[in-house]
């Protein structure tokens, strides 16, 4: 039944393309917002868009690296990508806790942004 294998391969490729398109569109949207915020003299908020864009960039790299590392496409790659994303979030969560403890609202805001984007990416990936 070569058709079954081909079907799942095709479905995997379709989902992968969809996910990478979402990442690329998100990066483009952040860049657009960043430019608009700079125009409006909101440089700090523009930097926050840059931070979001960097997180999408990290996710894209992790996706591509895990795709090469996974022996076979599909479930193994999916699990490996989610694991890597969660590993990336660990120091951000620690940093957020430290920022909260020391009432460092600037750092808290940055860590919250990074975590919320990373969580959104994982959610979209798993949907």
């Amino acid at each position: 039944m070569p058709g079954l294998c081909e079907d799942s391969e095709r479905e995997y490729t379709m989902k992968a393309n969809e996910f990478l398109t979402y990442i690329d569109q998100s990066i483009a949207a952040c860049a657009k917002k960043e430019r608009a915020l700079i125009e409006e003299n909101r440089k700090d908020e523009a930097n926050m868009e840059r931070i979001k864009s960097n997180v999408y960039g990290i996710a894209k790299s992790l996706y591509q690296v895990t795709e090469e590392l996974a022996d076979k496409h599909g479930e193994e790659h999916r699990a490996m990508f989610v694991d890597k994303m969660e590993a990336v979030m660990v120091p951000w969560k620690k940093s957020l806790e430290a920022a909260k403890q020391h009432m460092d609202s600037e750092k808290e805001c940055v860590e919250l942004i990074k975590l919320s984007v990373a969580e959104e990416i994982v959610k979209v990936f798993q949907s």
């Binding site: 409006e40 003299n41 908020e45 430290a98 460092d104 609202s105 600037e106 805001c109």
Partner: protein
Amino acid sequence: MNQESAIKLFKCLADKSRIQILCSLMEEDMYVERLAERLNLTPPTISFHLKKLEDADVVTKRKDQYYTMYSINREVLTRPMIELLKEEASEEEKIRQREEQYRKKVIDSFFEYGKLKNIPAQRKKEKICLEEIAKSFEPGRDYTEKEVNLIIADFNDDFCTIRRDMIGFGIFEREQSTYRLKNNA
């Protein structure tokens, strides 16, 4: 207010969101969530801006039951701009300010929440960091090696290197096994 503080103030004000926050606070004192709703920004973003405004001394905060209320500092905001521009520091003061800025930059890079992240490789920067740690010791008091280690360990686990280098930089003097801050440290 010296020129450095004036620059800090102007830099802080050169942001549309922060100006909008100040405009809202001119109407009445507000808490983070209220400002967030009013300006259509997230509460963490508002807190981020308020911290910058607080650091520039334009905004003050106070606890009011469950909320932290923010108010504008009218004293700073009502000062004529010409006064800010006039206040030129002396050459000596400028040098002192530059040194102070450099020290602050080094301390901000190597310390995080009161911990020394790593010992700087550059001697000049290491000395600044060790002098910062030395502020935790009382001048004129004798410390045992164990006491010194315990205090330094609050900043960094490598207390042996730091303790030895503090002697090397002349921050501490050691007599037998007693440590004491040097008078000029």
